[in-house]
Amino acid sequence: MNHPDHPELAEAFNKDFERTTWHDETLWFVRQKRDKAVYPIPEFQDLRTLASEIKDHTLSNLDNYLIEFEQNAIKNGVKVHWAADAVEHNQIVMEIIKNSCKVEGRNPRLVKSKSMLTEECHLNDFLEKNNIDVVDTDLGERIVQFRNEPPSHIVLPAIHLKKEDVGETFYEHLGTAKGEKDPQILTEAARQHLRGKFVAADVALTGVNFAIAETGSFVVCTNEGNADLGVNLAKVHIACMGIEKIIPDLHHLSVYTRLLARSATGQPVTTYTSHFTKPVEGKEMHIVIVDNGRTQQLGRADFRASLKCIRCGACMNTCPVYRRSGGHSYDFTVPGPIGAILSPNIDLHKHKSLPFASTLCGSCSDVCPVKIDIHVQLYKWRQIVGKANELPAAKKWGMKGMAKVLSMPKVYDLSGKLARGALRILPHGLTHNQSMNPWAKARELPDAPKQSFKEWYEENRQ
């Protein structure tokens, strides 16, 4: 099956010049907020190193920490479930909901706070097909849920939309006035709408930012307080986490809470950093621990560091390609640079263009709060795509030909001379033909000089 690749989707995105400008500037503003929050902290680079090393240690001892976490969570009265993949995860969540909510005459009602893992598992679709009502309660998530779109950013799910777009969506779904675009009025409409959903919910589902092995507790970070509202009102709390969310103890948590919000949005800390340890009497708490390809990535020496990711989204905000192609152009749950190194692990064929959706500028690696060598991994995935025979044939054979020429000096000299000669003789309309030469769509070719440097050197210095 042929999927539209990143270049096609990015080209479509760029057709709207003004909107691309707006998207780029909006995310660059977030990057600048991050800089303002980071520069005044003298130990920020040391914190990054520490965070990276804690994750290195944890990933190397993941089996032990996961078991320690499970044992402590069970002692706290939490029910722990293990899911090997998305199918198992979705099945487990559905069964918890159906078992704990047996009301006649209506569907069980689930409220969710943001969880990229459940996006990855396509949980919403699955639950809705199984007659469970699902409401995303993060404002951005609710907007894209209304629109039947995936999030375009992991921290700012509706960042691809302008307030006018949100106004249109709320006019259709929440009955706000046609053409209303005042952010305060729109947000108030969403608040009133969501209050009703919170009060009526049977089950609340949250993600997990950090799971602490030593205590068996977990931490959920939000700015809207929607996780807390959902969890405290519903009878059942389900928390879904990937296996890489584990950290050893609470001291380590303090490193990450200092890094996460500063890197994500430039805040010193998220508005809500909520610790969950045990269920309130008479209520249930479940944790679903999910692999879904993570152990496979852990087994890839060159790529295991990608599992250190704390999902701050800073690599998206800083990426000059992401800012000018939009999250949907990646066609993967996690877009941007980090998505481009996670996605080939899941489906190399489908996502083969993503490691190439980068100039390898390295800004992502320098901004990453846990020092993932993202641009190095992009380069390495490119080699795997090449070896797996997933490159377009013209490129593959072109590269082989070029490599041959460049390993034979005389052939190189002659080819260069001929090419420059041709460029000088051929009419501009032909050398700059836009269907044959993508370079020429927006750029002039350099002038082809009569003499190469080598020819000049032979004439003037030897």
Binding site: P7, A10, N14, R324, L391, A403, R443, E444, Y457
Partner: protein, 246 residues
């Protein structure tokens, strides 16, 4: 001190003047420099395209051409970075290790090997410096805005000391230009847009001469300048330091 000049393939073919300026500059600085005539390319274009295995022959040719020298100097941070970083897939013979250690980007060589901190030339123009990513973040030749708010680096240090020069303060000091090797054609739309945005930043901050350490970035940016008929002259840093005028 045996010093070799490496002129990257696209500079050799399309920007011989940058090669000439680099050679003349090194000669003026008292370096006895030779240009090994059998050189071609560092192999980066294929490797970045996902075909590093195909590049092995080019790597071996490069090592054979340059391993007898104490220093290899090149007007390209990108090729330098590639040789240092990615020549790890061929057998690490003493020759390979030596080449990876002795390759230097031109300005790095001037400041850190020759220990020259000032070139007594005059360049009375408003200059915009494009920081090429491989030199800046790859070789750490300049501070990165992700890490510090202090804007400083090897090229700007030398530029600032030229008489009469004024440097543009850019809105985005170190955003990538969008060249990216094969990226410039495989992701044409994003690549072109990134370049256009860089040029717009330079134009609104008064750049009259645009310079940088990598001809590849400059070739892409010059392509946009020419298409837009923008009032900017593009020169490589070697040309400016050599005393060439726009």
């Amino acid at each position: 001190m045996k010093v070799a000049l490496f002129i990257p393939c696209y500079v050799d073919q399309f920007y011989p003047n940058v090669g000439v300026a680099t050679l003349q500059l090194l000669e003026k600085l008292g370096v006895d420099v030779v240009f090994p005539i059998k050189q071609t390319c560092c192999g980066q274009p294929m490797a970045n395209g996902g075909c590093e295995q195909d590049s092995k022959g080019v790597y071996e040719h490069f090592v054979a051409t340059f391993s007898e020298f104490d220093y290899i100097v090149t007007p390209s941070g990108s090729c330098t970075y590639h040789i240092k970083k990615h020549y790890d897939i061929i057998e690490q013979t003493p020759a390979v290790q030596k080449v990876r250690k002795s390759i230097y980007e031109l300005v790095d060589f001037i400041e850190n090997v020759l220990k020259i901190e000032e070139i007594p030339n005059s360049f009375p123009h408003k200059v915009g410096l494009h920081l090429s990513c491989h030199g800046q973040r790859g070789l750490r030749q300049a501070n990165a805005s992700e890490i510090t708010g202090v804007r400083d680096g090897q090229i700007s240090k030398l530029l600032r000391k030229l008489k009469g020069i004024e440097l543009s303060e850019l809105n985005r000091n170190d955003e990538c230009c969008g060249f990216g090797g094969m990226f410039c054609v495989t992701e044409e739309a994003v690549s072109a847009r990134m370049g256009q945005d860089r040029i717009a930043d330079h134009l609104c901050n008064g750049t009259k001469v645009l310079t940088g350490g990598d001809v590849s970035c400059l070739m892409h940016l010059e392509g946009i300048v020419k298409r837009q008929n923008a009032p900017i002259k593009v020169m490589h840093i070697a040309e400016i330091l050599n005393g060439n005028q726009p």
